[in-house]
Amino acid sequence: MARREIGEINAGSMADIAFLLLIFFLVTTTMEVDAGIGRQLPVKLDINLPPPPPVNERNVLKILANKNDQLLVEESFVKMEDLYDIVMKFYTVNKSGERDINMPLYEPITKEKCRAEITKLQADLVKSPDNTSLPGEIAKWEEKSALVDEVGVYSEIHKSAVIQLKNQAGTSYGLYMEVQNILKQVVNELRVIECEKHDFPDYYTLREDRPEDMVYINMLRILVPERILESKIEN
């Protein structure tokens, strides 16, 4: 008895269907991109430190966001659109000479200054070897000295210049993020300018996980420091 002819199943196109499925999922599963603004929280110090030295008002930019989502900068109401200009002014107005008495000063950093500071700090370290903050200070000045080697004399904002952010318990997170975004934008744009000025690679291509990029990132952090101080919520 002749066997019934069993049709040949062409299994070759099963692979094509599997490819299609794979490509479909490859495309759809990469749609969610997690993005955000990165920040470093200040270390919690559990020893009681002496009160910090009084800081000149001109070096502090006070931004307060109240529970009605209004912005107060230096005690006057400000619209969100104007915040960018104010922060940019804080960072740049006195860069080429003192133009505004209410904004922080800039100081040119030269090789001699670095050397003088390092010598002074090393002498202090000999006198009080228990001071744990001195080695950190020395390291910072050595970094600045290396930066002067790289880019020449540069202008640095006053060392106590800081942007102070205060929020109230009812301030909305959306407003807080808008402020954070503007602060980040100012720093990013100034760093892009510095990258172009000193022939660094493109700022937005720098990655923290590549050591050769970290060299540039650290230099940019000295040239355009991101100094934000967030106070605890009071009420």
Binding site: A35, G36, G170, G174
Partner: protein
């Protein structure tokens, strides 16, 4: 007679199964790719704020997520709540212990980024409390989650 055998009754060739291992590999690759999507059941509603200066998070393996928003289940109240993994935290003090429990081999707590996904209407009080908890356990690297554009 011809040198070539006439076809005659051809035997039926068996199903060509050489493609089957390819399909298995493909399924494997699919799961290798698809399992980087972390599906966490959201117990809180979150509408992320928009920040055009946000940068994409590259290394998702070294990121812990904290979700803060209004609970989806009305029985949990109308106050913003914290979701850790897939449970609602009873209060903000459990954040410290949770973060310590998320320790990964070979990495300090300091190296792991904590991503805060917060609804834009939530008040800053709870966010500030979470940040203080993270400071207490030395989890200093944080990332405010936001969409780069609408």
């Amino acid at each position: 007679m011809s040198k070539f055998k006439k076809g005659g009754k051809r035997g039926i060739p068996a199903v060509n199964t050489s493609a089957l291992p390819d399909i298995i590999f493909m399924l494997l690759f699919f799961f290798m790719v698809a399992t980087t999507m972390k599906e966490v059941e959201m117990k809180v509603e979150i509408k992320k704020p928009i920040a055009n200066q946000a940068t994409p998070i590259e290394d998702k393996d070294n990121v812990d997520f904290i979700y803060i928003g209004y609970p989806i289940d009305a029985a949990e109240g109308t106050e913003p709540r914290i979701q850790l993994d897939d449970r609602l935290a009873p209060d903000v003090t459990s954040v410290g212990d949770w973060k310590k429990s998320k320790v990964r081999a070979g990495k300090r707590v300091l190296d792991i980024v904590t991503s805060l996904k917060v609804d834009k209407k939530v008040g800053m009080r709870i966010v500030s409390d979470v940040k203080e908890e993270l400071r207490d356990v030395d989890a200093l690297k944080i990332n405010y989650s936001a969409d780069i554009s609408k």
